[in-house]
């Protein structure tokens, strides 16, 4: 009874926000729902098959791909792009369906897993991100591990990431997926998350004295980019539900948007932490580049990680930097011998170019540009 009433009010709030204020209305309805009925998530999740997806990077695009795969098996509700906090989960669950494929923020995953009792949890990777909020990678991994020990879900996991590997090491049911260490040495993986000893790496392979390793897996694949690895992991997850293997356009797994600004034909890519910057920089093929750095809450308010990214591949290119913290990046590039011009805003940056330009944009800048 309480849920029915809460749903009614939440839908009304969503409708009002959408029609009267011109907003999407999804977040507000989830928010209202959870205020009126705090256990709405567990009530709405009951009776359907739930799959959760979490990671530092790639959770939005992988969730979208997986939701697409699952649609061949039944009706699917899924998170609105990037809406991965409990209110986003709640609003996604307001639609009835056979399956719910939900993206979940790293710190909220244990609580959402407890409430939704998922059939499967897909874990892609854990690296440094928003340390002002996460504090330490190991801290997030420890919370996940506690969840994995008590959950009845099947964990599908990329075990080449030592943190993810550690998380599922004592899960009741798991599918350990490896890409033979193709991702290389984990940038934050010098210490074994399980025992605290120094982890010796051979390329992307590791084997600790305590037993943690990625030499032995349940399934092994070849993939040379994060996007391809995520495609495979989504397929392995869908297979658990009898869904046949899907090939997807890898570009759709990279969060890239094409848009024209003045004379600049921009391909805009989301970047938010050292791992995603490295991936994005490796994908820069042209000579014209705009970099945008902000440091709002979701971007991470501490910009010190800039010094852990190798920007030397930009040397000799025409580089323009902007954003609220553009100067942090400009000085970083300056010390690395990358000549870059610092300008006041994106319009001024776009005005410098004609034709194709690659734009690497911080989280908040990305959403402002692509709307």
């Amino acid at each position: 009874m309480r849920l029915t009433f809460a749903l009614l009010v939440a839908r009304l709030a969503g409708w009002a926000s959408h029609s009267l204020l011109g907003k999407s209305g999804e977040t507000i309805s989830g928010r209202v729902l959870l205020i009126l009925c705090p256990n709405a998530i567990s009530k709405l999740a009951a009776g359907r098959k739930v799959i959760l997806v979490s990671a530092t990077n790639g959770k939005t695009s992988t969730t979208r791909a997986l939701a697409g795969f699952m649609a061949t098996a039944g009706s699917v509700t899924t998170s609105k792009s990037g809406s991965n906090l409990p209110r986003g989960v709640a609003s996604a669950l307001m639609t009835k369906s056979d399956y719910a494929v939900l993206e979940v923020d790293e710190l909220h995953l244990p609580a959402v897993a407890k409430a939704t009792k998922p059939q499967a949890i897909l874990l892609l990777n854990l690296t440094r991100d928003q340390l002002h909020r996460m504090h330490e990678v190991k801290r997030v991994a420890d919370r996940w591990k506690e969840m994995a020990e008590s959950s009845n879900a099947t964990f599908i996991a990329d075990i080449d990431d030592p943190f993810v590997n550690y998380v599922i090491s004592s899960a009741k049911k798991s599918v350990r997926v490896s890409f033979g260490g193709a991702a290389g040495r984990h940038p934050d993986g010098a210490v074994c998350p399980s025992c605290g000893e120094y982890l010796d790496w051979q390329g992307g392979l590791f084997k600790c004295g305590c037993g943690l390793n990625n030499h032995y897996s349940d399934k092994q694949f070849e993939a040379d980019s994060a996007a391809l690895r995520n495609e495979v992991l989504a397929n392995v997850t869908a297979e658990r539900f009898g869904v046949p293997w899907h090939e997807v356009d890898v570009a759709s797994l990279e969060r890239k948007v094409f848009k024209k600004f003045i004379n600049a034909d921009c391909s805009i890519r989301l970047t938010k932490n050292p791992a995603s910057w490295r991936e994005a920089l490796a994908g820069v093929s042209g000579e014209k580049v705009i970099l945008i750095l902000n440091a709002r809450e979701v971007d991470g308010i501490d910009t010190s990680w800039l010094w852990d990214v190798d920007f030397s591949s930009l040397r000799g290119k025409h580089v323009v930097v902007t954003g609220e913290r553009g100067i942090d990046l400009a000085y970083r590039l300056h010390c690395e011998g990358v000549v870059a011009e610092l300008v006041a805003d994106f319009d001024a940056a776009a005005a410098k170019f004609a034709g194709p330009v690659e734009v690497l944009a911080a989280y908040t800048a990305f959403f402002e540009l692509v709307g």
């Binding site: 440094r128 340390l131 002002h132 504090h135 330490e136 990678v137 190991k138 934050d188 010098a190 210490v191 074994c192 605290g196 000893e197 120094y198 308010i301 501490d302 910009t303 010190s304 990680w305 800039l306 010094w307 852990d308 100067i327 942090d328 400009a330 000085y331 970083r332 300056h334 010390c335 690395e336 610092l342």
Partner: protein, 224 residues
């Protein structure tokens, strides 16, 4: 004239971009006409004793303990050292990691205990030695108590620093400790030049780098 900058255990002591301190030192040395080589020393390597500046950075708990144990026995006290966050803590008599009290390297007479809460945010201090404000970002759970006679790096204007007595860091001879990361030398060129002067043993020709000055001035202005 050339100097060797020793970046110690960056794979362990590299949580908050502190590797950049070596890059900034080498860059500014170059502008001052001093050749600089960065030597990366990993956990399995022997720490060379012919370095001119030794750099220690921030770390998570397990990495901090590994690094500290590997450095035990090396005498930092007669060298030019910049130690940030976890790297600063291990130079004391004791510190906490993994909820347990650990024995430090005893280079600075100080002890670190768990603070009441974690200190996360922008920090600004006033350095008497340089007579400038230094800015950075801090993210740590330790409260560091300097024992009698130990000089702090600066007085805290904004933020927490050592979390005790309104000061940040410590100075013992040419050993400098601080909770400012960011990395600290990128945001505070005067501090970088001080370390270069201590390493070369002479006054540097004035470094002209307007972007560095603009960056430092802006951080000092926006952190109230």
């Amino acid at each position: 004239m050339s100097i060797r900058i020793i970046r110690i255990h960056n794979e362990l002591l590299g949580t908050y971009g502190d590797r950049g301190n070596a890059d900034v030192l080498a860059f500014r040395a170059g502008l001052a006409g001093v050749k600089a080589h960065i030597v990366d020393v990993s956990y399995r390597d022997v720490l060379p004793d012919d370095g001119d500046i030794y750099l220690l950075g921030g770390a998570e708990d397990a990495a901090q303990v590994l690094s500290c144990e590997a450095l035990r026995g090396f005498d930092f006290s007669a060298r030019v050292v910049l130690a940030v966050c976890a790297g600063f803590q291990i130079l004391g008599n004791s510190y906490y990691a993994g909820g347990m009290k650990q024995t430090g390297l005893g280079i600075i007479d100080m002890d670190t205990v768990p603070g009441a809460s974690r200190f996360v945010g922008d920090i600004k201090i006033h350095s008497e030695l340089l007579n400038v404000e230094l800015t950075g970002f801090e993210n740590h759970g330790g409260e560091t108590n300097l024992n009698n006679g130990i000089t702090p790096l600066g007085r805290v204007i904004t933020g927490s620093g050592n979390g005790a007595r309104g000061v940040d860091g410590a100075i013992v001879g040419n050993v400098f400790g601080t909770y400012l990361h960011g990395p600290v030398l990128a945001r505070n060129p005067e501090f970088a030049d001080l370390l270069l002067e201590r390493a070369t043993g002479r006054a540097l020709s004035r470094v002209n780098d307007p972007l560095a000055d603009q960056y430092a001035a802006w951080r000092r202005a926006v952190i109230k």
